[in-house]
Amino acid sequence: MAVRSLLRRGLFRDSVTLMQLAAALESEAGIARASAVMASPANLAMLRENGVALAGIEARANDLLVIVEGDDGQALGGALDRAAAMLDGGTRPDAAPGGEGAPARPRSLAEAVDAAPDATLALISCPGEYAAAEAMKALRLGLDAMVFSDHVSLEDEVALKREAERRGRLLMGPDCGTAIVGGVPLGFANRVRRGAIGIVGASGTGLQQIACLVDRQGAGISHAIGAGGRDLSREVGGTTTLRGLAMLAADPGTERIVLVSKPPDKAVMRRLLDAAGAAGKPVVACFVGAPPPPERPTNLRFAATLEDAAALATGTTGPGADPPAPRAAGRDRVVGLFSGGTLCYEAQAVAAPLLGRILSNAPLDPRDAWDGKAGRHLMLDLGDDAYTSGRPHPMIDYRPRVERIGDAAAAPDTAAILVDVVLGFGAHGDPAAALAPAIRALDGPVAVGSVCGTEADPQCLSRQEAALADAGMVLAGSNAQAARIAARIAARIADGGET
């Protein structure tokens, strides 16, 4: 073992610097051991005790001594050169990254409340297994909460909503994909005009569709409150929807209220209708696909579709006459590929009277559950957990839909392929570009679709519509209209009558 040393007379460095220096040298290849000390008698004694050879070294207490040991003379020389450079340059051997930086970001809701005492709402999109705890903290800190996260148990949802009720707070979700509060989109939401129509719904894309249709018709939204898909179940009892209704009823900026969900539990529906009747404002209720109840409060009107709900709320006639449907000769089957659950549901409700049975992973009638085999008309909610576990949502990733469009096109009986395109924050940056090649490649089947979005959305509604039309898609002004067109193509119903 060879030993080489470097002595700097009268150079002082603190012991920390020297320990760092020694550590840096020792980490170099070919260095068995490195020592760096101020050569005080005590330090020299310690080196000797540790078996460091000091023969021939004449160092005094104020001298700085570096010793390296190893078998490779060249490595030892290199290490000492490096030590000299570090001592002369004054740089730290392990110059650490970072620095003062900005004050740290808060790491918890409690810390964030300290940083932003005016905060009113927590938007929670952490992994579902932790979402209930975070939502509970938000409520306990006096905040409203929107729980975007899914995979929150029904039991936790009930507990959270009880807590929210007890504290007089609003708990949106869980699995609430979208909301608009005071003109600000939360989660996957569209940038819609501000206005006097308030929406409360247990349906993310239903709420989005109505908000966008309202925007398209020149009106605006005060607030859109998402309740989460299970809110109107018997177990949850509509807690959030009821609270949302009450808030919109009390909100001076809201003149009309739209209530939207898939058909709710019967008892819950009665409670909702009572609450809607007491709202003191016109209310449009849309329980997609459900028939209107026989008795209803005078301020309440019923809409069978999202499209009708938006029309009733704005006092307009809806998207206008359906555009002409092209023919798909010799073909009679509709395949719908949806990213929005309520959009899929609405499409079935609209198309079923024209088409008869439609199979689905989220069917109108449980008997029409799709078993994975090819069959008659098929409408799939590709945003369903079964398709999204471990992969991006179809609003973000269009590849699964592009694949399925190809599969559907290959079937000789496919007449119409029906898709929804959802814009807004968080959605795919340019869905038209993602879909166009698959649409262009269609030979026989007709692509029919609608875009759920606004001009102000990052993707821009008109640009997306133009690009999709250019690719050959038959564009409808609403999801319901798109479903009607697709059904007419498959049922070979010509414009103005049957052929």
Binding site: T17, L47, E100, P103, C126, A133, G182, D251, F425
Partner: protein, 474 residues
């Protein structure tokens, strides 16, 4: 909704960062939270934590505890013999650092120190006899903390050792700590050779006597202002005590000379103190203990009142839970080692000196001590960041201790166990590193962090206590 205001809601965004961006772009305000799963990812512990957040009982209790802590005025009033001063200490008792640990389970340095204390007390004639005595259960062991005391490293304190007496008049409590022996071969690192015992005898005699006389002549030494001044002179009152030691000498030298003690003894005593930059550490620890003990015993308070390590376990105590410990395996300290030593030689984290961090000094006041910041692995900037980071887990700040480099901001103080679990930020502890074998002494220094499990256990206990109170009829 109506409170959302014309410009939209003020949102705390937890999870997808892009959502915060969208909110800000649309005219709302959003604070993005740097979130990670609390409680090291235990869903069940996270739910227990959630059940304690903003509980009015806990918030009120913490305010009471923290106010008592802030109101403390620790002052050194004298030197006392351990067995006479410490409540409930028996004559055949040896106190040690950290949570209670049985003789059989003690780490090397603590065993070495205990044997040295047995020799010092004269309970055995040599090391073999001392070991036999301990093996036979002839000595009782207990935590310093159970007797209002603290001790650095092994913390070994035996009945006839002299202790600093630190009184806290506002709360009427008293705290104690041994006298610092210096570096090298010393009892607290487990050395127990003749020179160690000899030094302890001298400390018991001349050092204790001169200090007692000087304190007597001076009157109580106010420790809070002294520590505050030292923070402005580059100390953080745990790993750097050079300034505070000098300030203490300044306070005591004239009274010592006026006390009538033998001038040669005074010279030896002050030469000893001057040769040990850590002499003040034990007084800093006693001051912190006095301040924190004042905060003890407030039901439902989640404020941490002690963090201490016995070389095997790292334990914490909270205000609400008295002498109960919430413990986890003690970590090995990340640090820099003296030449010839490395991590493989290191004992696990040991000592009661983390009482300084518990009181908002040490690692919490790292920004005050640029001279030693490289122990935290980096630059003064990182030291500042460390002090800032500790704010997030603190109940408040201590206006008595300010940090010049942070524009004289008050140092964070009063660790809330809930906030540690919630944020994943563990309290940092500056510390010396002992050799794992008895008697070799200090081999480095560095930084460690209190184990998360301690705080998770404390939060579970708090959650249980709250739930039990909720279930109680009436």
């Amino acid at each position: 909704m109506s409170d959302a205001g014309p410009t939209g809601p003020a949102v705390l965004n937890l999870g997808v960062a892009a959502f915060g961006e969208a909110i800000r772009e649309s005219g709302g305000s959003a604070v993005d939270i740097d979130w990670r799963p609390p409680a090291d990812g235990s869903r069940e512990a996270g739910l227990a934590l959630a059940g304690t957040v903003n509980d009015p009982r806990v918030e009120t209790a913490n305010r009471v505890a923290f106010d008592r802590f802030l109101a403390a005025e620790p002052r050194a009033t004298g030197i006392a013999r351990a067995s006479e001063a410490l409540p409930g200490m028996g004559e055949r008792t040896i106190l040690h650092a950290g949570p209670p640990v049985a003789w059989e389970a003690m780490c090397g340095p603590m065993r070495g120190a205990a044997l040295g204390a047995i020799l010092f007390e004269g309970w055995a004639a040599d090391l073999d006899a001392a070991r036999a005595l301990a093996d036979a259960g002839g000595v009782a062991f207990d935590s310093c903390h159970h007797h209002a005391a603290v001790g650095p490293m092994s913390g070994v304190t035996s009945p006839s050792m002299p202790l600093w007496v630190v009184e806290n008049p506002p709360a009427g409590n008293v705290a104690f700590c041994s006298l610092n022996e210096g570096l090298g071969k010393v009892l607290r690192f487990g050395a127990n050779g003749p020179e160690v015992i000899e030094r302890l005898r001298w400390m018991q005699g001349e050092l204790a006597d001169v200090l007692a006389r000087a304190l007597d002549a001076h009157g109580p030494v106010e420790l809070k202002p002294l520590i505050a001044q030292a923070l402005h002179m580059g100390d953080e009152a745990h790993n750097r005590n050079a300034a505070a030691t000098s300030l203490l000498v300044k306070r005591l030298i004239a009274p010592a000379l006026a006390s009538g003690a033998d001038p040669r003894a005074i010279a030896r005593v002050f030469a000893f103190i001057a040769g040990n930059d850590h002499f003040f550490l034990n007084l800093s620890m006693a001051a912190c203990k006095a301040m924190l003990d004042a905060a003890r015993g407030v039901p439902y308070a989640s404020m941490v009142t002690a963090m201490a390590r016995n070389g095997v376990e790292f334990g914490i105590q909270t205000s609400a839970t008295g002498d109960s410990w919430f413990s986890a395996p003690a970590p090995v300290v990340d640090g820099l080692y003296f030449s010839g030593f490395g991590r493989e030689h290191a004992a696990r984290d040991i000592g009661d000196s983390a009482i300084t961090e518990t009181a908002g000094l040490g690692g919490f006041a790292m920004a005050a001590a640029p001279a030693i910041v490289r122990f935290v692995g980096g630059s003064p900037g990182e030291a500042i960041a460390a002090s800032r980071r500790m704010r997030g887990i603190a109940l408040g700040a201590n206006p008595a201790f300010t940090l010049p480099i942070l524009d004289f901001a008050a140092a964070p103080a009063g660790i809330d166990a809930r906030r540690v679990v919630d944020s994943g930020v563990r309290p940092i502890v500056n510390t010396g590193i002992a050799h794992r074998e008895a008697g070799i002494g200090q081999i480095g220094a560095g930084i460690t962090a209190a184990p998360m499990d301690c705080f998770v256990r404390a939060v579970r206990a708090l959650h249980g206590a709250l739930a039990e109170a909720d279930d109680r009829p009436g």
